[in-house]
């Protein structure tokens, strides 16, 4: 999935003066209708979400976004997105932090270092990781990764680096923000890596060979030519990965444990926007609670759209800078 432009091909219009047949009009109407439908769909999604969140929007306004509360007790109902927004930001940011070096490393490996024989299979394997459904990664997270982290990694990190607030007391249950971060990192690794790989392959070879001819080592060439050239594209890839991490609900809700608080301890439980929605929508017992959950979805939509649009904008700016027309990819 790339953020590439559609290739600029000459427009195929009916020749001027040619007889326009009914069939042409019908096809154009149907096809145009479908395109219009797709556009309307996006607007409809935004509108329906605002509509569904209306009771909470009118009651809480924008204060909802930063309030740290989720009290469903009837008579004392008070809802807010603050803790979940915090959780979304923290998990996505750290997942990106963990995944990026790995993804860039893999991309560099595949574009610069891998022997020809290995290139295609390894590329296929890394992109296959993207095909693993989130519910399976979550299942693996609950039953394999979570317990493993709880018994081995978390206590070790806590005993060694416990003075850093990030590595506080591990929660006794296997669920933790840390597990969620690792799960998210696994899920965004393929996206960031495949976009980066294409970027690195797209660096003009004259630039690379020129650097090598001047006597730089392979790493210096990468650091001096490939990375700066791809800087914009990598930024877009990172933001796309961030957007994907923020939107992931199922795998996160399976491993994160839940809770309405803000703390920095990665080994404790937490919650994110998507995870809260997935956990609570089915049992929402009052209209206000349902509307608040939909409000959470609205915030998530805004964040994802923002990430998406920023990434697109970066891509278009970079394309213009490099004067490259990006068509289909291998």
């Amino acid at each position: 999935m790339s953020a590439a432009d559609i290739s600029a091909e000459p427009v195929r219009r009916p020749f001027t003066g040619r007889r326009v047949r009914f069939g042409d009009l019908l096809l154009q109407a149907l096809a145009g209708g479908a395109a219009l439908g797709a556009t309307v769909l996006v607007g409809l999604i935004v509108w329906k979400l605002i509509d569904g969140a209306h009771p909470a929007l009118s009651k809480y306004g924008l204060g909802f976004v930063t309030r740290i509360a989720w009290n469903p007790v009837v008579g004392h109902e008070l809802y807010g997105a603050g803790s979940f927004l915090f959780g979304t930001v923290i998990t996505s940011f750290f997942a990106l932090l963990v995944a990026t070096p790995l993804a860039i490393g893999v991309a560099l490996f595949l574009s610069e270092l891998a022997p020809r024989v290995v290139q295609a299979p390894v590329t296929a394997l890394v992109e296959t990781l993207a095909a693993v459904p989130s519910v399976l990664v979550g299942l693996w997270g609950i039953l394999v990764l979570g317990p493993a982290l709880r018994t081995h990694i978390e206590p070790w990190l806590h005993s060694g680096l416990g003075w850093i607030p990030l590595f506080g007391t591990p929660s006794a249950a296997g669920a933790s923000v840390f597990t969620a971060i690792i799960v998210l990192a696994i899920m965004i690794l393929p996206i960031v890596s495949s976009i980066s790989r294409e970027l690195f392959l797209g660096v003009p070879s004259e630039l690379k060979e020129g650097a090598l001819a001047l006597g730089t080592t392979r790493w210096e060439m990468v650091r001096g030519v490939v990375l700066p050239y791809s800087r914009g594209g990598i930024a877009a890839a990172l933001i796309l990965g961030l957007g994907r991490a923020m939107g992931e609900a199922i795998a996160v809700t399976q491993v994160i444990g839940g809770g309405v608080f803000i703390h920095w301890n990665l080994f404790g439980t937490g919650d994110t926007l998507g995870s809260k929605i997935a956990a609570s929508y089915q049992g929402a017992s009052t209209n206000l609670q349902s509307a608040s959950l939909i409000y959470l979805g609205l915030i998530l939509l805004v964040l994802s759209l923002a990430a998406n649009i920023v990434a697109q904008w970066i891509v278009r700016r970079v394309s213009r800078q490099h004067g490259v027309t990006r068509g289909g990819h291998a």
Partner: protein, 347 residues
């Protein structure tokens, strides 16, 4: 038209056909029964699961049930997404209004066990309400705390940290527990209150009774709460709770039945409250509860629904279904009210 690799096409077609054939063949024998669908309480779901296996043959009805929590059940029947809802928490007047012509009918009687995971320590440790409230409020954090030790003299309790497992969804079992804790602890009552969900100060949230049982089962030092059937099914230990007469009782048929005798007359809305019975009910288990089915008075599925409910409150209460799960057959006084309520359902 470009050819598409004949071998690939053949292989995928054969694979798809094989999968389809297997699934269809295996399900070909399924009867098309009348379907009655419900959703709600996870507390009663073990019992409903036994009924599901029986009513197909006994009544020709396919009973569908989704254990999504009492809150979800009330919401589902209110929006008529299902034919009946199930909740351990009785409906409030607001919920009755929203449901628009529903009634609630007590259809099972059981007890909430307080489960714990403490390797090497015996089952049925002693616990009382005030201490339990402090534990759930996060004021007592270790098993070696003197409050727990004083209830269990002679038992060596490790220094393990206590992890609370509570419900993350709207739960009638939470209602039952908080109802009990509010009646034994004034500070619980003022700070957290009673509800299908409360602002838990500490602990890990899990979805459904099975979620809570799962957390307790996999976390040494954990304490959680669920219908006793879940504790039994997962081989979890649970506390013997101190009741108002000073006895330590367990969620078994004797304790639950004794608690049920503390409220024999359903209220006008058919609800009963048997939590923390007064001390003259010497053998009562203090965290027992009736659980309700919520039905619309007027529904197109009236005939099947009535058949099902009549069966559930009579046949469905016999030992075949209830004994192993520690549900207790409904008392006669409640049965009489139930039958009257069920006959009110019409199409």
């Amino acid at each position: 038209m470009p050819k598409l690799g004949t071998s690939i096409r053949i292989i995928s077609a054969v694979a798809a056909a094989a999968l389809l054939a297997v699934v269809v063949a295996g399900t070909a024998g399924a009867r098309s029964d009348a379907t009655v669908s419900g959703a709600g309480s996870t507390f009663v779901s073990p019992l409903v699961a036994q009924w599901q296996q029986a009513v197909g043959g006994a009544l020709g009805i396919e009973l569908q049930y989704s254990p999504i929590g009492s809150g979800g059940g009330i919401a589902a029947i209110t929006s008529r997404t299902v034919d009946f809802g199930a909740s351990d928490a009785p409906l409030t007047s607001d919920q009755f209004n929203a449901c628009n012509g529903c009634e609630q009918i007590p259809w099972a009687l059981g007890g909430t066990s307080i489960m714990y995971n403490l390797p090497g320590v015996k089952n049925l440790l002693h616990m009382d309400g005030a201490t339990l409230a402090k534990i759930f409020m996060g004021q007592i954090t270790k098993w070696s705390d003197p409050a727990i030790a004083s209830l269990n003299k002679g038992v060596s309790l490790p220094d393990t940290a206590i992890t609370i497992a509570h419900r993350s969804d709207n739960s009638g079992t939470t209602y039952n527990l908080t109802d009990y804790l509010s009646s034994v602890s004034p500070s619980w009552k003022s700070q957290l209150g009673v509800g299908v969900a409360v602002n838990w100060p500490v602990g890990v949230g899990a979805k459904g009774s099975s979620g809570v049982a799962g957390v307790v089962a996999s976390t040494p030092g954990a304490i959680g709460y669920a219908d006793v059937a879940f504790a039994l099914q997962n081989h979890l230990k649970y506390f013997a709770m101190k009741n108002n007469s000073g006895k330590f009782t367990t969620p078994g048929s004797r304790g639950i039945l004794a608690a049920a005798s503390s409220d024999q007359k359903p209220a006008a809305d058919n609800s009963l409250s048997i939590v923390n019975p007064p001390k003259k009910f010497a053998n009562a288990y203090p965290i027992s509860t009736f659980t309700y089915v919520i039905v619309p008075l007027q529904t197109s599925k009236a005939a099947d629904l009535k058949k099902l409910l009549f069966w559930a409150v009579t046949h469905g209460q016999t030992g075949t279904y209830t004994a192993k799960l520690r549900f207790v057959p409904l008392p006669k006084s409640v049965l009489v009210v139930d039958e009257k309520a069920i006959s009110k359902i019409h199409s």
